[in-house]
């Protein structure tokens, strides 16, 4: 067997799967977005109508707004995770164990997490409101049933889910910093906070950039937990792009419109990834250490 044949044998099966189930579908999504289609009957070509409607659909923009908030909050919460990781990078007893404890929620399914937090937020028998009542809050909110609180409530569950993941990533990066650098700064009289802020953080800026991409693109894709916890409700208040797409396509069988939303999501994810890479690249160049 020639090497060419061997390479084909090793690579083609995976490549076919990837092409057939990932790459061809993303083009088809864009194409189906041009159709009026209920998923069962024949497709009817309607040009750019779905995409035009999308731009004027207040529900879509509202879900995009929620996705944007989610991305913003997720990015800001990276600061918390980084702070905890920096503490853990010091001389802390039991740090390996702590990191592992923090990671446990990340290992659970979003369905289980959503169901658990539905119970935590239960207005009558949930953990949170019982705690608040013991602390003297008279009528705590019905967290998931009120427009004003639902996003915050979901976001706290998301922090619970992802904190350990980002802490593990930051910790792995911080471990790679040579001890000699830190020791030299200590001898020069730098305080731990200065060392963290001026030496450690800049040195792992590449990883921080990666986590920002992960947090933002991850937020755009975010679905399972919200779908199970609220289904996008109450009355659309917690709808995000992915859940709006799913409800349109597989909920009310508006497959053409759902495809258009899916395609918009793809474009958004690609542009964001590219944009962050550009933005952070120029920033890195201007800071020299």
């Amino acid at each position: 067997m020639s090497n060419k044949k061997i390479i084909a044998l090793y690579v083609l099966p995976s490549l076919l799967l990837l092409a057939g189930l990932v790459y061809i579908p993303i083009f088809l999504t864009g194409y189906y977005g041009l159709m009026e289609w209920n998923g069962v009957g024949a497709m009817e070509f309607i040009g750019l109508d779905n995409y035009m409607n999308l731009l004027q659909d207040p529900k879509f923009w509202f879900s995009a707004r929620n996705s944007f908030f989610l991305a913003l909050f997720s990015t800001l919460s990276l600061i918390l995770y980084l702070a905890v990781s920096l503490i853990l990078a010091g001389k802390i007893k039991g740090k390996e164990l702590l990191r592992k404890i923090y990671l446990i929620p990340m290992l659970l399914s979003s369905v289980a997490i959503a169901q658990l937090w539905i119970k935590i937020y239960d207005p009558n028998n949930g953990m949170l409101n019982s705690l608040l009542q013991t602390l003297g809050v008279d009528s705590p909110p019905a967290w998931l049933a009120q427009r004003e609180t639902v996003l915050v409530a979901i976001f706290i569950a998301i922090i619970w889910q992802y904190a350990g993941f980002y802490i593990i990533i930051y910790s792995a990066a911080l471990k790679g910093i040579p001890a000699s650098l830190v020791e030299a700064a200590e001898i020069d009289g730098a305080t731990p906070i200065q060392i963290a802020y001026k030496i450690k953080v800049p040195l792992i800026s590449g990883v921080i950039k990666t986590t920002i991409v992960l947090a933002i693109v991850g937020s755009l894709k975010y679905f399972d937990l919200i779908y199970v916890m609220t289904g996008g409700g109450p009355n659309g208040a917690s709808e995000v792009i992915a859940s709006y797409m799913y409800n349109q396509a597989f909920g009310i069988k508006n497959f053409g419109y759902g495809s258009a939303i899916g395609f918009a999501l793809l474009i958004l994810a690609l542009i964001t990834t590219w944009g962050i890479q550009k933005l952070t690249a120029s920033k890195n160049d201007s800071i020299q250490f």
């Binding site: 995976s14 990837l18 802390i92």
Partner: protein, 285 residues
């Protein structure tokens, strides 16, 4: 005087350390207590759940909640479906990914860089941008409501991350061993099967456990492509179950516990591999 400031800075340091440990401890409680609370209410009956403080320990430890949902709630069926689909997809994924990684890192060919790029970009694509065509594709092939649809999707969507993790190892594998093998007249297949694959066992086990967790927890594909109970996995199954037993907290808790216990057991024994795999996806990527 100097003695005094030294004492003082020691005191400040101790105070700072106490504060840090308090912060870390609070984070640990926040991360772990909801699960303890879940475990407790999975053992309670409705009388206790609705009548007593949610923080109370269970009075009679109703392990029969677990037995009840296992058979009555169809959870055993969902459980074994999850095991079957997870195991099949994981095996398929790590084998295919090993072939690809070997071909990309150990053999010279023109398109290797481009193929690698295709896999890496595949990692960024949101599944909601592919879901409708996938559904249509499976419908045409008559694979809707067939576990094969799920196994193929899991494999395709987990190949990128698996290759990414394997890549880190294959890149560092010493070439001398292969060269010696070629001198001895070994074929490429034998180098792959008898040298590269066994050497990659540690990192392969990392990819196995990471894939297991992701597949075990997956929801959207099963929810979209599977409609009959006999093929549903735990994530979708418990959704159904909870829809029917809305007010039976003990049963819901037991179901959730059953779905997460296998993961917790795996974590207890393989936590280092899991941590390594989770970190690898982003640091090396």
């Amino acid at each position: 005087m100097q003695e005094n400031t030294k004492e003082k800075s020691k005191g400040v340091k101790r105070l700072a350390m106490t504060a840090l440990y308090t912060v870390l401890g609070l984070v640990a409680v926040f991360q772990i207590y909801p699960l303890v609370w879940l475990f407790f209410f999975s053992l309670k009956g409705n009388r206790e759940i609705f009548g007593r403080s949610p923080f109370a320990l269970p009075e009679d430890w109703l392990f029969e909640n677990y037995a009840r949902v296992w058979t009555d709630g169809n959870i055993n069926q969902y459980f074994f479906n999850s095991v079957f689909i997870t195991a099949t997809s994981v095996i398929l994924t790590v084998i295919l990914a090993s072939f690809v990684t070997f071909a990309i890192t150990r053999m010279k060919w023109k398109m290797s860089g481009f193929v690698l790029l295709l896999f890496m970009v595949g990692y960024m694509i949101p599944i909601h941008s592919t879901l409708v065509p996938l559904f249509q594709f499976y419908k045409t092939l008559n694979l809707i409501d067939n576990p094969l649809s799920i196994i193929l999707a899991y494999t395709a969507y987990n190949l990128p991350l698996t290759i990414m993790i394997l890549m880190g190892f294959y890149r560092t594998m010493p070439r001398e061993i292969e060269e010696a093998a070629i001198m001895d007249g070994c074929s490429v297949h034998r180098i792959f099967l008898q040298i590269a694959l066994p050497m990659s066992m540690p990192v392969l086990s990392t990819t196995v456990i990471i894939n297991m967790i992701y597949n075990w927890n997956e929801f959207v594909f099963v929810n979209t492509f599977i409609s009959s109970d006999k093929y549903k996995t735990l994530t979708v199954g418990i959704q159904n179950f909870i829809g029917q037993y809305l007010t039976d907290w003990g049963a819901i808790g037991a179901t959730l516990m059953i779905s997460i216990i296998p993961i917790l057991i795996a974590f207890f024994f393989l936590s280092n591999r899991i941590v390594e795999g989770m970190a690898a996806g982003s640091v090396k990527g």
